[in-house]
Amino acid sequence: MSVLRFPVISFVTFGLFLFLFAREKMNASFYNALSDALKEAGVKKLKKRDVEEIIVTYTPFAYLALAAAGAAVCLGMPRFGDSSERRKIKKELLPYAYIAPQLFFFVIFFVTPAIYGIYAAFTKWDLFNEPVFIGLSNFKTLLFDAGNTYYKQLRNGLGNTFKFVIFSVPLCIIVPLAIAVALQTKARGSKFFQALYYFPSLLSITTVALSWKYMFNTKYGVVPNLFGLKTDWFAPPYSWAVLVIVTIWWCAGGNMVIYQSALASIPKDHYEAAAVDGAGVWQQFVNITIPGMKYPLTYTLVMSVVAQFNIYGQPLMLTGFNNNEANAVLLMYIQENAVKKQVAGMSAAMAVILGLCIMVVSFIQMRVLRSNASE
């Protein structure tokens, strides 16, 4: 019974949470929605829209039932069959009990919306009415119709996203690596600096973007006044520098922590042996540190590329659609088209293209880095 304590507790917790959630829903005329949906479903032929509505409206009960079933299984199992049989069943089922919560949320909040999003890319949809299936027409417009607005948006947005990735990813690796190596020397005050470099990662993107927007303000900001560069820092050539600086400042801490733990795990005697053989600091770094950190470097490289492809907050808050949309990235167009202009099908197609780009790039990275690692 003791091994089952954990899943039981988790299911009870989920049940409690979902029960409270259902109670909340009942207050907001939940019963009306339920009876309406039932009546409609009974009278008419069941359409896809109804099914969606039912799924949306009935989820609290579904959660509740699932939680109750899980709890019942966990509680009832010890009183089932003889003891060897029981042990065997328990052994086989236990892993599924452990992954059940994660799997549940993964399916509800990731797989279902993702599949629906991909389906939406092949439809004409204004968010309120039923999506109309139109095949590959969205992709044809986006990729080949040169005069179309969305064609231009995709080109501009994807180009800007790629530019940002190329500018920021190398610095996202090099700056935290340099910081981690410097911190590793245990120089005076390195604990303070460690805390300091990690601190911006705790702030939200809104705080970061707003404060840097003030600091780069042409008339009253610090940077233009200090260096005498009174140009518009949010116009094309400079705006890339601003975006990259803000991004590095904001997220250097995360990679830094990974590199620090990787550096600490490299054995000291390797360096001592190299020093005896007469290797300089740079040679030690290239021949011991870099190979010793192969896996963390691979991981952070892939993760940084994916994270920078998903850039959204910084250009939205710092540059927006100003300057002839010179810094508008693809996610801004996707959001704008889906929510404000309500051409959700088109923006879903854009999202699918961006997703394909990310997948191709990270696949190539994985292959190249893995083949390097196996040498």
Partner: protein, 146 residues
């Protein structure tokens, strides 16, 4: 890495130079919260070098007016600003997210480390795939419920 005296000094200088870039926005943020609105906006116009910048970081006239208006509402656009309900909401969300994440991920982690489970590889792949899909791929289906 060999950490001789010279190496430590170079590392210290590097960290200090980078540290200035990291600490100035934070100091500016904290000190600016004690400035009046007009002082906050105009305090860095026509700077005469780094020393001038450091002196102007310090407020001309210290005021805690901003801190009061956060709780009771200030002038102009922020008359209804009150930080306490917002803080309560943040607390509720962050605490419940932490507990939920701990339960879900811890139980899955036990499973991933257990050697006998057949679905290990698939499960890890699923967790990994989540990171590789653009955020907006998921959002269109959620929008009607807003």
């Amino acid at each position: 890495m060999t950490t001789g005296k010279k190496g430590k000094r170079v590392a210290g200088i590097f960290m200090a130079i980078l540290g200035i870039l990291w600490i100035l926005p934070i100091v500016w943020l904290i000190l600016s919260s004690f400035k009046s609105d007009s002082d906050f906006i105009t305090s860095f116009a026509n700077l005469k070098g780094p020393l001038d910048y450091l002196t102007r970081l310090i407020p001309d006239k210290w005021t805690i007016r901003n801190y009061i208006s956060v709780f009771v509402g200030g002038e102009g656009a922020n008359t209804t600003a009150n930080i306490l309900p917002m803080f309560r909401n943040s607390f509720v969300v962050s605490i419940s997210v932490t507990i939920g994440t701990l339960i879900v991920t811890e139980s899955e982690c036990i499973c991933l480390r257990a050697s006998g489970f057949q679905g290990r590889r698939q499960d890890f792949l699923g967790a990994d795939v989540h990171e590789h899909v653009p955020k907006c791929c998921e959002s269109p289906a959620d929008v009607p419920n807003l």
